[in-house]
């Protein structure tokens, strides 16, 4: 029975990811009909490197949403990290000092989110809406309207260079390692199973001896650290530290996670789905850019995708349950 159920679930999940692959193929086909340049290796390399900050932030957010919470503050932590890194570099710090400091600040910011959610028992929606404003505000306090440039060549090469001899951008290597680690931890270890349990039923998880508060706090810390890392990557890629770096990224990051099949109410989702969804959004935006649509206008499509990715499965589920209800009543009538 249980194996049947899990087989069924795998099939359903596989179906969602198949859907994403199909969507990706359709978007790539549409893109290639737009411009002959679209299918070139260098375009895919650009497209990938444009995505990596969002992709890095989507990984911890997936775990947070699976555990039944949300973190809207990621883009502002990215901005704060970029601004702080800029400030420390401008006053003469080495990057070997600046980067660890920025990651530590990310951890602190995440800890603030986590403690407010678990210890003060506030809804993560409001907490991270507050820190969305707070971190961005602090970023502009730190750096004001200026930007810091003149970064060392090694740093900027990491940002927009490729692995020698290939078209693989360095930030993608970082993301691939992280995605591999996340996949392993979420799908192959007790930690992952605990997160699903927390998301399915927090109280039951607590009675089963899972330290729910500690797990959630650590997830927010992880999210803070990786958002700060995304800030470092973005600073290197743009070779410019600015307080408003990454503004509006929250849309793409949340869309990637929910389009990737993570249930907004927690308890379901896979990393493979999220990674696929990240690339769906990337291909969509890249195609629209080639069609001369401005990034702000592109957000109409991504915003619609976000809503559809939640409304669609809900509608399907409702239709399905209505169907099976009808079949049940028919069976009852005929017997």
């Amino acid at each position: 029975m249980i194996t049947q159920l899990s087989a069924l679930r795998t099939r359903v999940l596989a179906r969602w990811e198949t859907l994403l692959v199909l969507l990706l193929i359709v978007f790539i086909w549409l893109g290639s009909s737009l411009s002959p340049y679209f299918l070139s290796g260098s375009n895919f390399s650009d497209l990938t490197s444009n995505l990596m900050e969002k992709a890095i932030m989507a990984l911890p957010l997936a775990l947070i949403i699976i555990a039944g919470e949300i973190d809207l503050s990621v883009e502002s932590m990215l901005g704060l990290a970029s601004a702080l890194l800029g400030l420390t570099y401008a006053i003469g710090w080495s990057l070997w000092l600046g980067i660890p400091l920025v990651l530590a600040v990310g951890a602190l910011g995440g800890l603030l989110n986590g403690l407010l959610v678990t210890w003060a028992r506030l809804p993560s929606l409001v907490v991270t809406l507050g820190t969305l404003a707070l971190f961005r505000g602090l970023a502009s306090v730190v750096l004001g309207p200026q930007s810091v440039s003149g970064w060392p060549a090694a740093f900027t090469n990491f940002g927009f260079g490729d692995v020698p001899g290939t078209l693989i951008p360095w930030p993608f290597v970082v993301f691939a390692v992280l995605a591999g680690a996340f996949t392993f931890v979420l799908h192959r270890t007790w930690i992952g199973r605990q997160l699903y349990a927390i998301g399915k039923n927090k109280e039951a998880a607590r009675y089963a001896g899972i330290r729910v508060a500690r797990a959630k706090t650590l997830l927010f810390v992880l999210s803070g650290v990786l958002s700060a890392l995304a800030g470092v990557v973005l600073t290197a890629r743009f070779s410019s530290a600015r307080a408003d770096n990454g503004q509006g990224f929250v849309l793409d990051v949340v869309t990637a996670v929910l389009l990737g099949g993570v249930n907004i109410f927690g308890g379901e989702g896979t990393i493979v789905g999220v990674v696929l969804a990240v690339f769906v959004i990337g291909v969509l935006r890249n195609g629209l850019t080639l069609a001369d649509v401005s990034p702000d206008t592109q957000s109409v499509a991504v915003g619609a995708l976000l809503i559809i990715s939640v409304a669609g499965p809900t509608a399907v589920r409702r239709i399905r349950s209505a169907w099976s209800n009808r079949r049940l009543t028919q069976a009852a009538d005929s017997s």
């Binding site: 506030l122 507050g130 929910l258 206008t297 915003g303 809503i307 409304a311």
Partner: protein, 345 residues
Amino acid sequence: MDRTVEAQFAPRLAGRIGLERTLALVARLRELGILVALAVIVVVVGVQAPRFLSVSNFEQILLSVSLIAIVAVGQTSVVLTRNVDLSVGSVVGLVAFVTGDLLKEHVLGVPGAILAGCALGLGLGALNGLIITVGRVPAIVATLGTLYVYRGLDFLIAGGKQVSAIDLPNSYLRIASSSVIGIPTLIVFAAVTAAIAAYLLRYSGTGRELYAIGSNPTAAELVGIPAQRLVFGAFVICGLLAGVAGVLWGSRFGTVNAFAAGGLELQVIAAVVVGGVNIFGGSGTVLGAVLGAALLGTIENALRILHLSQFWLQAIDGAVILLAVGTDAAIRSYFQRILMRTGRR
């Protein structure tokens, strides 16, 4: 048997009612607290910069507070039902631009453009409401999506253009700048809107039903309150009021581009939670939300007068949201603990 059950639960029931009363009292105290904070800011900043106390500065504060307050009233009706509308900033911006553009291109006269702007706001709110009630998408996801969809449409329509005051008819610009018996129309308008909303939420049946939905959605359904329809209605009202604010925004500032009112949603939500509207739904008043808007507007103005960095503004909004919800939670759990103890005895 019945009697023992009653004996067991009566004190706890009394405790419950006591809790509600205490919380109502705390809410009253909240409004008083904001007034005290306002008074302290006025005195402290006034001593350092007498310009702060001038009538014209006071008017400036009230003008910017009025716009936020109108949106905050709509947001209150949504938050009361345990929902949230993150798209209000984009609605204000889109409506402001469309209204201005209609006037600039002489598509419609002033009354027509104003009506069109309000109708657009209402339509955008209705779309939010439909996605949430019919599409069953949680409000946070739905309105995060429409925040960017509406803003994107704004960019699509504006396409880098902007509407300037010279393009606009005087009768439109005068809506914000004219005054009724010495008080700017905008302020009168916000006050009337808030007063009507406060009355309806407090005394009308529908208003009370909104509170009921927020404090216990399941119970509200069980007693026959059409929860879905009312939540839809709350989003429509919220959109309409954001639309009204958008029309007034264009009238007040004259210059509107696609970036207008960006990030306004955070200010509005800050005002609402500072004003004591419970983010879990079910409690809070329009007066509180308006006072919250007034407090934030005064702080913003004080920073400017004292030549402190404008960059602090957003950080303050964020800190204020955290502080307000944190205080609420602390007070609530404190009283709950006390009542649990008395209930047991």
